[in-house]
């Protein structure tokens, strides 16, 4: 129904249509406002080139350094690890659901659980992990248990359903005729998966990966509750670390005049830019796929 000519006939209709248009542009403005807002508050840092300096300096309040490098590293390590754990599992689960590998009835039982996973709030994952995963890690690996590993494992659970959803959609978008043709040639389900589904679904898989990475980077509560929030550079998986989101949540409550407080806008700007980049590439891929397919 695209490109519909959509005129208004009377005054009320006109107002309604104006409201609709206004709403659409409101969203546009909201996104710009967010960007402008972080830019505005981080501007003093940007002007002096200090923003880029901040990205590479450590956090040493006593020495007057409020660099956010440890948080960037923390976010990077935790999200990357989470994606690395979640990717193979999600790919396997999506293949299990869509590639005829398992009995239909089994799939019918298991798929709803993956759908339910999208509805489990992140704070619940955090809560459960504090009392189940953290004590286990403490016994198994030493240290306090509040660590990069704990946060990554739970984040992996959080982003897995997003990936499964994207991968499943990508598999399902492969034309049925091609699948039938392969079946007619005597291909087994595994062969169809490897030689047809995976190559065809590549851009969908990458898009899901990017989107899930965005969720991992942007999640606050799991990292805040599980990562231990220490200010050091992450050095090992059993050590604590702090993410950009966790830093904002912790420092947002502090004195709004302090230099610590100003650093969270640099964190915010960084997060904004990371998210924008991920979404941008994700959309590019989806559009490319639509045009090819």
């Amino acid at each position: 129904m695209a490109n519909h000519f959509f005129p208004a006939r009377e005054k009320g209709e006109k107002i309604f249509l104006h409201f609709c248009g206004f709403s659409a542009y409101f969203t546009f403005c909201l996104v710009l406002l967010l960007f402008g807002f972080f830019l505005f508050f981080a501007f003093p840092l940007l002007k002096s080139g200090g923003y880029f300096l901040l990205l590479v300096t450590p956090w040493q309040p006593l020495a007057g350094n409020y660099g956010i490098a440890p948080m960037i590293a923390g976010t990077g390590v935790i999200s990357l690890l989470a994606v690395c754990i979640a990717f193979p599992v999600s790919l396997g689960a999506a293949a299990f659901c869509e590639a005829d590998l398992a009995h239909k009835n089994l799939v019918r039982w298991i798929r709803p659980v993956f759908q339910l996973m999208t509805g489990i709030p992140t704070v619940v994952y955090g809560f459960l992990a504090v009392f189940l995963l953290v004590p286990f890690l403490r016994k198994a690996m030493g240290g306090s248990g509040f660590s990069i590993l704990a946060a990554s494992l739970m984040l992996a659970l959080l982003i897995a359903p997003t990936m499964i959803l994207f991968f499943s959609d990508a598999f399902r978008a492969v034309p049925k005729e091609d699948l039938r043709a392969m079946t007619a040639m005597g291909a087994r389900p595994e062969e169809k998966l490897v030689f047809l589904l995976l190559p065809r679904a590549r851009s969908g898989i990458v898009a899901g990966l990017l989107l899930a990475a965005g969720r991992a980077v942007g999640d606050t509560l799991i990292a805040l509750m599980l990562a231990g929030n220490s200010l050091a550079f992450p050095s090992s998986l059993t050590e604590p670390a702090r993410t950009l989101t966790g830093h904002i949540a912790l420092v947002m409550a502090s004195d709004t005049q302090s230099p610590e407080f100003r650093s969270i806008f640099a964190c915010g700007l960084t997060l904004y830019l990371i998210t924008t980049l991920l979404i941008f590439f994700c959309r590019r891929l989806m559009v490319a796929e639509r045009e090819n397919g």
């Binding site: 129904m1 490109n3 519909h4 000519f5 959509f6 005129p7 006939r9 249509l17 609709c20 709403s23 659409a24 969203t27 909201l30 996104v31 599992v89 999600s90 790919l91 396997g92 689960a93 293949a95 299990f96 659901c97 590639a99 590998l101 398992a102 709803p112 659980v113 339910l116 999208t118 509805g119 489990i120 709030p121 992140t122 704070v123 619940v124 955090g126 809560f127 459960l128 009392f131 897995a160 087994r188 595994e190 062969e191 490897v194 980077v217 942007g218 606050t220 509560l221 509750m225 989101t245 904002i248 949540a249 947002m252 915010g268 997060l271 904004y272 998210t275 991920l278 941008f280 959309r283």
Partner: protein
């Protein structure tokens, strides 16, 4: 492909799916078992008689009632604030926007949907502080938190409305127009009723999204103990925030068990809403597929 390789691929997929399945089932079971000892009326109302608590005659201590009410109020306010905007923008994008606008705004909608919620919370918090200087009655509270949440769910509503209208068969609109309806009349009397299941689905989805989020309300108005809010600028309790604080600050085994119970309630609420939304989406697709659109 050799048989052992096929076997390996199949077992890997089985291991991934079943592993994930059992982890989730284990987590949910643990949640239930740990919450079981406190699942009774005292969980909701503490030592206050339920009737008096519901009427607001006496405050509730050690009960989840204020947190549940706070979450419900918050979600209702957020949806009421976001729904007109979201549907309006969705309709505009589906029907009257030019392709260029659609691409530009579509990108913004995706961007907003992918924005970390803590950034929206930070924006809300800073705007409150800014406005407070000029209008001293504006403080963190129910309405500011709901407004921030509304920004969070706006993209879901827009996408949902857009999709719901876009997936309707084009004949619907053409028929309505050829019968002499104005486009807006066609929208109101034909398209929107037909898109109702899709719209309901996206509203449920955004309700679930609003109910689960913690980072947005962290600093825009939620507190650990307050009771029922009596106005829009009052602070409020919320389930996710209760779970977050209990994890770090519980002082007795009962409080800890209440944290598990609150998690169970929240999972039930969000899982139920998401499940219902998925169900509705499926029936919609079925209807369109079989052409039985009312």
């Amino acid at each position: 492909m050799k048989a052992p390789l096929r076997m390996a691929i199949r077992s890997a997929a089985f291991a991934a799916a079943l592993g994930l399945f059992f982890i989730v089932i284990f987590l949910l079971a643990a949640l239930f078992v740990k919450a079981l000892p406190v699942l009774d009326m005292r969980l909701l109302f503490g030592d206050t008689p339920p009737m008096e608590a519901i009427m607001g005659v006496r405050p509730v201590f050690d009960g989840l009632f204020p947190a549940i009410c706070g979450t419900l109020l918050l979600v209702i306010c957020a949806v009421v604030l976001a729904l007109p905007m979201g549907m309006g923008a969705g309709i505009h994008l589906a029907l009257s926007a030019s392709p260029g606008t659609r691409r530009r705004i579509g990108f913004c909608v995706d961007l907003l949907a992918g924005m970390p919620s803590i950034l929206i919370g930070l924006l809300g918090f800073s705007i409150i502080l800014f406005l407070y200087r000029y209008f001293p009655f504006i403080t963190p509270g129910l309405l500011p938190a709901a407004a921030s949440l509304a920004c969070l769910i706006l993209p879901y509503l827009i996408r949902g409305t857009w999709q719901a209208i876009h997936t309707l068969p084009p004949e619907l609109m053409r028929t309505a127009l050829s019968l002499g309806a104005s486009p807006v009349q066609a929208l109101r009397h034909v398209l929107l009723p037909a898109a109702k299941p899709g719209l309901t689905g996206c509203i449920l989805l955004s309700v679930g999204r609003a109910a689960e989020d913690t980072a947005v309300i962290l600093l825009t108005g939620t507190v650990a103990a307050y009771g029922l809010p009596s106005g829009f600028w009052d602070p409020f309790e919320a389930l996710p925030f209760f779970i977050y604080t209990t994890a770090a600050e519980y002082s007795s085994q009962r409080e800890l068990a209440m944290g598990f119970a609150a998690s169970l309630i929240l999972v039930g609420l969000c899982g139920g809403l998401f499940g219902l939304a998925a169900l509705i989406r499926r029936t919609v697709q079925l209807k369109i597929f079989t052409g039985k659109l009312s």
